[in-house]
């Protein structure tokens, strides 16, 4: 996998998992002046979720999850894709637009720094908080000898 694809996977994932409100707000300065052609307007559908028997064995279908997908093309000709969990069309549209702009070398640094990085930090902080809450419930049981032998 090449380097661009690797970092693209990374930013797509951060944008998909960001809280919609923060994403829209942070993206605004970069998207305001940019022109895009809509290739596939935000569209809500399902993705089937697969799991494995015993966690490691053969696959089975667990159920579906709602997703929203969107494709746009930037003025420079880059195609931006977005796939997000849930049903938030403005979120999917902004994420697709940012994905297109992030593929332009001149813009990447700024967007990475002012949109992607803060969103990534927010996600990491949320994960840390949940991990800390969980850690406080770590338990160490003692077994007691019961009566006779």
């Amino acid at each position: 996998m090449n380097e661009i694809e690797d970092s693209r996977r990374n930013w797509m994932s951060v944008l998909a998992q960001a809280p919609a409100e923060e994403l829209v707000e942070l993206a605004e300065p970069f998207l305001a002046g940019a022109g895009f052609t809509t290739v596939r307007a935000p569209q809500i559908g399902l993705a089937q979720v697969r799991a494995r028997m015993g966690g490691t064995g053969s696959r089975f279908n667990l159920g579906d999850v709602t997703i929203t997908r969107c494709v746009v093309q930037s003025a420079a000709g880059h195609y931006g894709h977005a796939y997000i969990r849930g049903r938030n069309k403005p979120h999917a549209l902004r994420a697709a637009q940012l994905d297109a702009l992030l593929q332009e070398k001149a813009l990447r640094g700024g967007i990475e720094q002012q949109v992607v990085a803060p969103l990534r930090r927010m996600q990491e902080q949320k994960q840390r908080q949940r991990a800390d809450e969980t850690a406080a419930t770590r338990v160490n049981f003692f077994t007691l000898v019961r009566g006779e032998d």
């Binding site: 998909a16 559908g45 089937q48 028997m53 053969s58 997000i84 809450e133 969980t134 770590r138």
Partner: protein, 371 residues
């Protein structure tokens, strides 16, 4: 057989209006928002998502509100909505081993790599009504912190990766291994089940199955109807990554996380065809925090493996067709509820028949009948 009827439009629309009014309750009280249901009744939301077969907390909360708290009705609403959406993608199999664990317990080993964490649980509560919740605005909502509590003596391998309990037994050759046969799993939403069916179809059916029905069947196995000697090897709750590989991109993208509950049961050992003796296993998995459901599912999954171990199918929980064709509460409540539809003609013919039979009997035995 029921028949079509006409009319009643006015009464029906008035009945629906009344439903909306009753659902709203006392208008002197603030209306419950969908976001409140999502945030404050998360376990109801989790059940509706699991059995409704769509992971979407907001939609599940909406369904619960619309159904006035009738969860089976809410599940029906979600299933109906599901049919209006197209399926764009199939995810990569979720990796529960890589879960960001929020709860993880084992009833088979006291000390395990990664330790045991209780997370949020009803276990160890005294099941006494908490009247502080009745007095508004007095609920405990601060985060637990390690500093709050007496530090638990650190388990030796604390904070290591949480290896799977059952894999440790697999490695020692003590447990029937799970092997990936790399087959495309059955999809009961596309192709109706036929019996006997594949384990992938069974598990998919059980995930959607009614929690109460599966719980009762699981309980029946413990009471001796298809006993399978279970131990809760490991129960874990937490977030797993959801990854798609969209064709148009050709590379995987992690698009979010899902909270799931997984239960792995270790069941009674048996002699396998190759002569080895090993523990057997059952698997349960559900959206959200659905512990009772995933435990019941794991017990029933094991009961349904009877043929694999040459066990006699003598009890209800072991009867594949019986369990799978009756576990879906949307199908079940649909067929039971259809009894409310007009059966006037059908019933008239039965009534006629009974009257005729009775009058024939009257003619045959007039004296005795009157005595």
């Amino acid at each position: 057989m029921y028949v079509a009827v006409k009319g009643g439009e006015k009464a029906i629309s008035q009945a629906h209006k009344l439903l909306a009014k009753r659902r709203r309750g006392d208008t002197g009280l603030a209306e419950l928002s969908v976001a409140q249901i999502r945030e404050q009744l998360p376990l109801a939301v989790d059940r509706v998502m699991t059995e409704g077969s769509i992971h979407d907390p907001e939609l599940a909360a909406l369904a619960i509100k619309q159904a006035a708290g009738d969860l089976v009705e809410a599940i029906f609403l979600l299933r109906a909505y599901r049919t209006t959406l197209s399926r764009f993608y199939v995810s990569e199999a979720i990796d529960t081993g890589g879960m960001r664990v929020e709860r993880r317990i084992s009833a088979t080993f006291k000390d395990l790599p990664g330790g045991q964490v209780l997370g949020s649980t009803f276990d160890y509560t005294h099941r006494l009504l908490d009247f502080r919740l009745l007095a508004e605005g007095d609920a405990e909502t601060s985060s637990p912190t390690a500093r709050d509590s007496e530090p638990e003596p650190e388990p030796e391998e604390e904070a290591g990766p949480m290896g799977r309990v059952l894999q440790m037994l697999e490695r020692e050759g003590l447990l029937v291994p799970e092997q990936d046969d790399d087959q495309l799993p059955a999809d009961i939403t596309e192709v109706a089940r036929s019996y006997p069916c594949d384990r992938s179809a069974r598990l998919q059916s059980l995930v959607r199955g009614d929690e109460g029905f599966l719980l009762a069947l699981a309980y029946s196995t413990q009471r001796g109807y298809g006993r399978n000697h279970p131990f809760a090897g490991e129960i874990r709750v937490g977030e797993v990554s959801l990854t798609l590989i969209p064709e148009e991109l050709g590379f995987p993208v992690e698009i979010g996380t899902l909270q799931v509950t997984e239960c792995e049961m270790i069941n009674g050992f048996t002699r396998l065809p190759d002569g080895e003796v090993k523990f057997t296993r059952g698997y349960g998995l559900a959206f959200g925090q659905s512990e009772r459901k995933s435990m019941a599912m794991a017990l029933v999954d094991r009961a349904l493996q009877a043929d694999d171990y040459d066990e006699e199918r003598s009890s209800p929980a072991q009867q594949e067709e019986f369990v799978l064709s009756h576990c879906d509460n949307v199908e079940a409540s649909g067929f039971v509820s259809h009894l409310k539809l007009p059966h006037y003609v059908d019933f008239q013919s039965e009534l006629e028949l009974l009257r005729r039979l009775q009058s024939e009997t009257d003619v045959a035995q007039p004296v005795e009948e009157q005595a």
